[in-house]
């Protein structure tokens, strides 16, 4: 890390290699679009490179990168929402994903098709959450950060993380109830 801060491009390249998948995964789950996620991932690393000087080592590099990624993604989402009101917003949120599950009991979770469909529904349910709840769920249940780390990334107290996560899971539970039985 010291090398990176000192301007060692090679070290930064290693960082990109090491974290790109995890960051991409998180960003994709936050924005729900592969195209956007690719651009946002790139922007995240570019911002990180440009702001290496602000990284003081208080948090881990991993959480610092995630902070940038989350902020970038949420900012992008807000802009997108502002530019394209309607699709992806409240309309989708109101739409119950469960209505699209043809026959949950018939599907074998190990079946790739079923798994893909399930994944799409879960992603849709995620998209239906507001930013702060979606973010905390992604960081915890997909990226498996602990509460303290999530608090660092989002710069909120751990208690807030806890309550937010609980609410987010309850909302998701309601949205995904048909899937839970499987």
């Amino acid at each position: 890390m010291a090398k990176v801060v000192a301007g060692d491009g090679a070290a930064f390249g290693t960082i990109v290699e090491r974290y790109q998948d995890r960051l991409y995964n998180a960003v994709y789950r936050l924005v729900g679009s592969a195209d956007d996620a690719r651009d946002l991932l790139q922007n995240t690393f570019v911002k990180a490179y440009e702001n290496l000087g602000t990284f003081r080592g208080r948090s881990s590099l991993y959480t610092w990168l995630f902070r940038i990624a989350v902020n970038t993604s949420l900012s992008h989402r807000r802009k997108r929402k502002w530019l394209q009101p309607g699709p992806g917003g409240a309309d989708e949120e109101d739409q119950a994903p469960s209505a699209q599950v043809a026959d949950p009991d018939a599907g074998d979770p190990s079946d790739p098709l079923v798994a893909a469909e399930t994944a799409a529904l879960v992603q849709r349910a995620l998209d239906g959450l507001d930013d702060e709840h979606r973010t905390v769920v992604v960081l915890r249940d997909i990226q498996h950060f602990d509460y303290h780390e999530i608090g660092e990334i989002l710069e909120v107290p751990t208690g807030t993380v806890k309550s937010r996560l609980h609410r987010a899971r309850l909302m998701l539970r309601d949205k995904l109830k048909p899937l839970l039985s499987t």
Binding site: G13, D21, R22, L23, A116, R140, F145
Partner: protein
């Protein structure tokens, strides 16, 4: 514990984030409450659903894309990531100071990246190569998307990728199911959403350590160069075989040296070729400098030909330093600018001793320097050329001495190679480049790049900020009845001087390359043959129409040489439609005096002919003599100091050496050839001694040098003019003067200067008139 309290803690209980005491209390409640247990199971199932989502891999080439973006921003910002970034990080005030520039750059970056991404995505969805792309950047991206199988894989729709469960996801799922076993496991699994480290290691092993950040990747600047070059030549080979030797010979002859091709041409359908892999070029050849030669042998296509400067031997004991004050920053800066991430071999050459590799730029004016100066080495180059203000001298290691090799992007988008086998003979390895990254010199550089078809308007706009323009040394403020009439009069004056407006703002507020601009013999620039082109461009100033953001004035940005500027100033003094405001820089303010003198003579003696440029009493002979005979020895410092207090300081348009004078004469002759068929300067109010259709001649110094018989001008009060206007002399002498005066180095741009001309409407005229002597008001 009540149900309500318990439920609030269920998620945290699930995640083992409760204290031991609280967890025990929750557990106790759960043992006795089925409803809460159900809720816990639902939350667990919800969490598991999320945990089973497929783990997506980042798109291929993410690292390369990141690197390109970083490079691109660095180029646009004119910064050197390897050197300036750390300083910016440690000096907050520096960053604050850079904000205005950063904002301007950011706007451009966003625009450019947006266009690029849009085109990229569009093309990606279409799945077919773009036949025509508006910008090199775009073309490059398109090519990567179309020709790299790995990229296609990476851009597979997410749904398709998700549908195939990958081992990583399965493994994660298995891990996830055991999440609750212990806190240790939970903590460990806190990282388990990550793809397996083994996979990362495997990928890095496949790619090679750091390959994701190749050392050079100068494809974008190369492609950008190629954009302009495409307009000029049918093919790179044709240009190299037909024109290069002639050009080189002409330039070498003009320098009095042997007929060695020291000139260079940036030629060839770089991006065109990149889009046509069927031509035999390897689809994806990772290009790094030391591999350029290999690529050359593979492709056999001359993509970007850059001849090197001749060795000292070749130039008969003279070392020729290539100045590239006007080279596109993207071309010259990039190789050394790269962060060289993951590429140990890509150390910036600024630390490389020995013969200085560098990048030469087309059509630049060579400056002859004494051979005893150290040859090679960046430092030597800086000494000779003078370090541009806030600029950089950079060099790139040239593994193959005669070749200035630009490595291309990993996709092999563009290749810079040595001249073809039957092309000009190989020259020395000592080539160097000076590029300017900020300040007015950057505007000058960008403007000339655009005028040559090598730069983009966007890049010019990015640097033509108010701040940069305000720093320009030559500021001319004109007041007209209206902006329209003022602009028309000004443009007429430009045309009479043979200046061309290369870009102007259209009705839609966008800038565009001026249509139908010509640069010799009535033909468009694009049709100008290679032999004519350099000389014509050297001699031809360029203009850039730039609308000031405040909307109260129009701004013209002009690059011209001092000779033309002198003549222009003289002519301007005779144009009634334009009033020179005292807001102008000192040399232009003296036009007010000139006008006053003209009016005084007209009223006292009558109209006896064309007004002549005034001369300072007692200086006529000396000035004329110097005009006729170039000064070869620098004046003592005290004399220059004395000059700094009177008008003789304007006599700056002097060749600095006989050799340079010969070169200037050759250029002037070439300019005269190029001017054939053009509106001769004589059609407009001409400066004393000016010859129609001629390029800058030593007797055409007008206001600065004056001509024999010119009436004496009233001497300007000492101290009235800004000190900067007395930075007289050219070349080394001027540089020395600057250095000793502690003014910092000046960009060694030969005789060319950047002039910012502002045209203000009538509202401001009254105020300006007050500053004009009473005679002119009559």
């Amino acid at each position: 514990m009540l149900c309500e309290q318990t439920r609030e803690h269920l998620s945290a209980y699930l995640d083992r984030e409760l204290t031991v005491e609280l967890a025990a209390a929750v557990r106790d409640h759960l043992d006795s409450c089925a409803e809460c247990r159900t809720m816990l199971e639902e939350l667990r199932a919800t969490r598991d659903l999320l945990g089973r989502l497929p783990v997506l891999a980042a798109p291929e080439h993410t690292a390369q894309d990141v690197q390109r973006e970083i490079e691109r921003r660095a180029i646009l910002a004119g910064a050197h990531p390897a050197e300036e970034a750390p300083r910016e990080r440690t000096l907050p005030m520096e960053r604050v100071r850079l904000w205005p520039r950063a904002l301007a750059v950011a706007a451009t970056v966003i625009l450019s990246v947006g266009i690029g991404v849009l085109a990229y995505l569009t093309n990606e969805r279409r799945g077919s190569p773009t036949q025509e792309a508006p910008s090199p950047v775009l073309r490059e991206e398109v090519r990567v998307a179309d020709t790299t199988p790995a990229m296609r894989k990476a851009t597979t729709p997410p749904a398709a990728r998700e549908s195939s469960p990958d081992p990583g996801a399965m493994a994660q799922d298995k891990r996830h199911r055991g999440l609750e076993e212990t806190n240790e496991v939970a903590i460990a699994n806190g990282r388990m959403g990550q793809p397996p480290e083994a996979a990362v290691a495997e990928r890095m092993k496949e790619k090679g350590e750091g390959l994701a950040f190749p050392p050079v990747a100068a494809a974008k600047p190369a492609a950008r160069e190629g954009k302009g070059a495409d307009a000029y030549f049918d093919s790179a080979e044709q240009a190299a075989q037909k024109n290069m030797p002639k050009l080189a010979k002409e330039k070498a002859d003009s320098l009095g040296g042997p007929a060695k091709p020291d000139a260079l041409a940036i030629t060839g359908a770089v991006t065109e070729g990149a889009l046509k892999p069927a031509q035999g070029r390897p689809e994806s050849v990772p290009m790094v400098p030391d591999k350029a030669k290999a690529a050359e042998s593979k492709s056999g296509v001359l993509d970007l030909q850059i001849a090197t400067a001749p060795t000292e031997e070749a130039m008969g004991g003279k070392a020729v330093t290539k100045e590239t004050p006007l080279a596109p920053a993207a071309l010259a800066e990039k190789p050394a600018q790269l962060p060289s991430m993951g590429a140990p071999a890509a150390k910036p050459a600024t630390t490389t001793p020995g013969p200085a590799p560098a990048i030469a730029h087309a059509m630049e004016r060579p400056a002859v320097v004494p051979a005893e100066k150290p040859a090679g080495g960046v430092d030597a180059g800086e000494k000779r050329l003078g370090q541009p203000r806030a600029g950089k001298t950079i060099a790139v290691p040239a593994e193959q001495p005669p070749t200035t090799a630009f490595g291309a992007a990993p996709g092999g988008t563009a290749v810079a190679k040595a001249p073809a086998a039957d092309g000009p003979p190989a020259l020395g390895s000592a080539i160097r480049a000076v590029t300017v990254t900020s300040g007015p010199a950057a505007v000058q550089q960008a403007l000339v790049s655009v005028s040559r078809g090598l730069g983009r308007i966007e890049d010019l706009q990015a640097v033509a900020t108010r701040e940069n323009l305000r720093q320009a040394e030559y500021q001319l403020v004109l007041v007209a009845d209206s902006r329209r009439t003022g602009n028309q009069a000004l443009e007429q004056l430009f045309r009479s001087n043979g200046w061309e407006v290369v870009a102007r703002r259209g009705e839609n507020g966008r800038y565009a390359i001026a249509k139908g601009r010509s640069a010799g013999a009535g033909s468009g620039t694009g049709n100008l043959s290679l032999e004519e082109r350099p000389a014509a461009e050297e001699a031809r100033p360029t203009g850039f129409y730039y609308a000031a953001p405040d909307g109260r004035e129009d701004t013209w940005v002009v690059v011209t040489d001092r000779d033309h500027l002198s003549r222009f100033a003289t002519q301007l003094s005779q144009v009634d439609a334009l009033t020179v405001s005292t807001d102008s820089s000192g040399v232009f303010r003296s036009i007010v005096d000139l006008k006053r003198e003209n009016l005084r003579r007209q009223t006292a003696v009558g109209e006896t002919g064309r007004p002549k440029a005034p001369r300072e009493p007692g200086k006529a002979e000396a000035g004329g003599g110097e005009a006729a005979k170039p000064r070869t020895t620098p004046e003592p410092e005290k004399d220059r100091t004395a000059e700094a207090l009177d008008l003789e300081g304007y006599q700056i348009a002097k060749p600095m050496s006989p050799a340079a004078d010969d070169g200037a004469k050759a250029l002037g002759d070439a300019a005269a050839r190029a001017n054939r068929g053009k509106l001769a300067p004589a059609d407009a109010p001409a400066a004393p001694g000016q010859q129609a259709g001629r390029g800058p001649a030593r007797s055409d110094w007008g206001l600065y040098g004056g001509a024999a018989g010119a009436p004496a001008a009233p001497k300007a009060p000492p101290g009235e003019l800004p000190e900067k206007w007395y930075r007289n002399g050219v070349g080394q002498e001027r540089e020395e003067h600057y250095r000793q005066a502690g003014l910092g180095a000046r960009p060694a741009t030969g005789n060319q200067v950047l002039v910012v001309i502002r045209v203000r409407p009538a509202e401001a005229k009254e105020a300006a008139r007050e500053s004009v002597p009473a005679e002119s008001a009559k």
